[in-house]
Amino acid sequence: MSVTDYTPTIDTGGPAQPLLTVNHLRKYFPVRGGILGRTQAQVQAVDGVSFAVAKGETLGIVGESGCGKSTTAKLLIGLTEKDAGEIIFDGHALGERLSLKDLRRSVQMVFQDSYATLNPRMTILASVAFGARVQGLEDPEGLARKMMDRVGLDPNRFAHRYPHELSGGQRQRVNIARALAMSPRLVVLDEAVSALDKSVEAQVLNLLSDLRAEFGLTYIFISHDLNVVRYISDRILVMYLGEVVEIAPVDSIWQEQAHPYTRSLFSAMPSMDPDNRTQTPPLAGDPPNPIDPPKGCRFHTRCRFASDVCKAKTPSLAGLARNQAHQVACHLYDSTSGHPQAGQGIPA
């Protein structure tokens, strides 16, 4: 594979225009029950999520299960239909100047379960060439062979094998090749390395870094492993119960987590120091059910600093005084919020 075989869609807005902008994205899943199958409740999976990804940037999304990170990913490529909100790819809004098919030419996804996402009855070559064929690209099989070679799978050895004949790491390489065969500009990686053994994970991370540099890719990298996200990302977005609570450049958030939830999430990381092990858990209990999330700030039920205003009013994202690029949704940082410690941040 050489750069000339990589034929992404044309950059229309120039480097200053974000590659992807998401505004107020919302998705509720109905919970049906009873004899008539009526909707009895709604899982508020994604609620008012907005962010932008610059060209060539890698945005990491972290959060616990049920926080809506995977649903967000699926909404981005139209695998799940959004209830409300805007998806703008390089200046073109989805549904207006951009069709779903065009979007999928430019945005591809790699999933966690490398086995479930490959058709067991299709050879590796057929799987990798499939998308390119659907999009009507020229010589899909030749393209697939080149891409397989590029991700480290010798096409002569692997082209005619089936998914069950490959190891987990090899299958994930197939998935990456399949995504890249379309020459996308944005790749959404949803826990793409989480199921791999640590030693294999490092190989795949190296591959992803190389491909990003070679083809000028933009990544959205979803993971629960903060170390992996730090390693690969430029900025990190933290989600809690369907909402964005913090978004910041990696170095800034690593230095100081502004949101109390982010801070807990970071302190929950194993210490890696046998002489200085973690002594108290940062949070008690499990995350609440997204079917009926708490009112106001959704984190207030587990937050040490919660006051009355947190139960009543939903905080909105705003830049920190020390760094406007570091945004947090917490009343502690808004001097007009009415929180007793408003404007002071997390007490020392």
Partner: protein
């Protein structure tokens, strides 16, 4: 008396494919010790636990070697004696509590059943023990939770119930098979700290199987690193973290990304673990090893013992610093 003494344990599965899952593993533990078995999928860590509980299917498994727990010959146990041993002397916490708990009985009932079986007390007393256990694993409003079914509990809560069930009969040895892998980060650390407290409180030995080196550091005093059904390296957690001698352990530590510079090229271990269709007759890690020599591919590596209860199965372990 030693809590656990495994000598030259080998486990071979036959059937459609032959797999030499464990090859000549020897391992011992003192009373009240915590040991992490660290390894990747297929390294034999879970099989070791299953062998300790006699859970391997007898028809397709060939087991050689000796396993003694508190002097009892585990591999020779049958029938009533095996039942008494399982859940009494040694018990286990599984990765997926949702699958390990019975969905049609309340959690109180399940804990009480185990206590009644092993201690021979009546149901009322057994339920009282169950309540006490739920309290000890810090389940809020335990009285109400006693009558809940597993599906009514959250993942973290279910794992607490699983631990209560495993500890109800005060085992001498607790086996934990990746008990926090399926949990969220903020819940995982709660369960790890709970297990650490309970281990002190009950004074039992714990074998904790994990693929996550960070989890091993939080939970255990000692670590045994497994690769291809063998023990590559063993020592205290401090020794393994601060002074890893086996190239595989070094690779695993590097792959943790704990303090890798952002964007720097990762020192990945190339290739994949062996399939173990035949018993390794040379160093199983040699094909992936950055410092392998021809001798490594010729014979099984010697086991160096740089200190008491410290060992490294590597030909080059006695060299001052292994080359990168």
């Amino acid at each position: 008396m030693k809590l656990l003494d495994i000598s030259n344990l080998s486990v071979k599965f036959s059937g459609k494919r032959t797999v030499h899952a464990i090859n000549n593993v020897s391992l011992s533990m003192e009373q009240g010790e915590t040991l992490a078995l660290l390894g990747e999928s297929g390294s034999g860590k879970s099989v070791t636990l299953k062998a300790l509980l006699g859970l391997l299917p007898p028809k397709r498994t060939q087991i050689d070697g000796q396993v003694h727990v508190n002097g009892t010959d585990v591999l020779g146990l049958k029938g009533k004696a095996l039942q008494k041993y399982r859940g009494g002397e040694v018990s286990m916490v599984f990765q997926e509590p949702a699958l390990a708990l019975d969905p049609v009985y309340t959690v109180g009932h399940q804990i009480a059943e185990s206590v009644m079986r092993h201690k021979g007390i009546d149901k009322a007393n057994a339920m009282a023990t169950a309540l006490d256990m739920l309290d000890r694993v810090r389940i809020p409003s335990a009285n109400r939770r006693l009558h809940n079914y597993p599906h009514e509990l959250s993942g973290g809560m279910r794992q607490r119930v699983m631990i209560a069930l495993a500890l109800a009969c005060k085992p001498k040895l607790l086996l934990a098979d990746e008990p926090t892998t399926a949990l969220d980060a903020t819940v995982q650390i709660q369960i790890l700290l709970l297990l650490r407290e309970l281990q002190k409180e009950f004074g039992m030995g714990v074998i904790f199987v994990t693929h996550d080196i960070g989890v091993a550091v939080e939970i255990s005093e000692r670590v045994a690193v497994m690769y291809a059904g063998q023990i590559a390296e063993e020592g205290t957690t401090r020794e393994i973290i601060r002074d890893p001698r086996h190239p595989y352990t070094q690779g695993l530590l590097a792959a943790n990304l704990h303090d890798v510079a952002r964007g720097a090229r990762l020192n990945a271990i190339p290739g994949a673990p062996p399939a173990l269709e035949s018993k390794p007759d040379s160093c199983a890690f040699a094909p992936r090893c950055p410092v392998a020599m021809p001798e490594c591919r010729a014979a099984l590596p010697p086991v160096f013992e740089p200190g008491p209860r410290r060992r490294v199965a590597c030909l080059r372990a006695n060299e001052p610093i292994a080359a990168e």
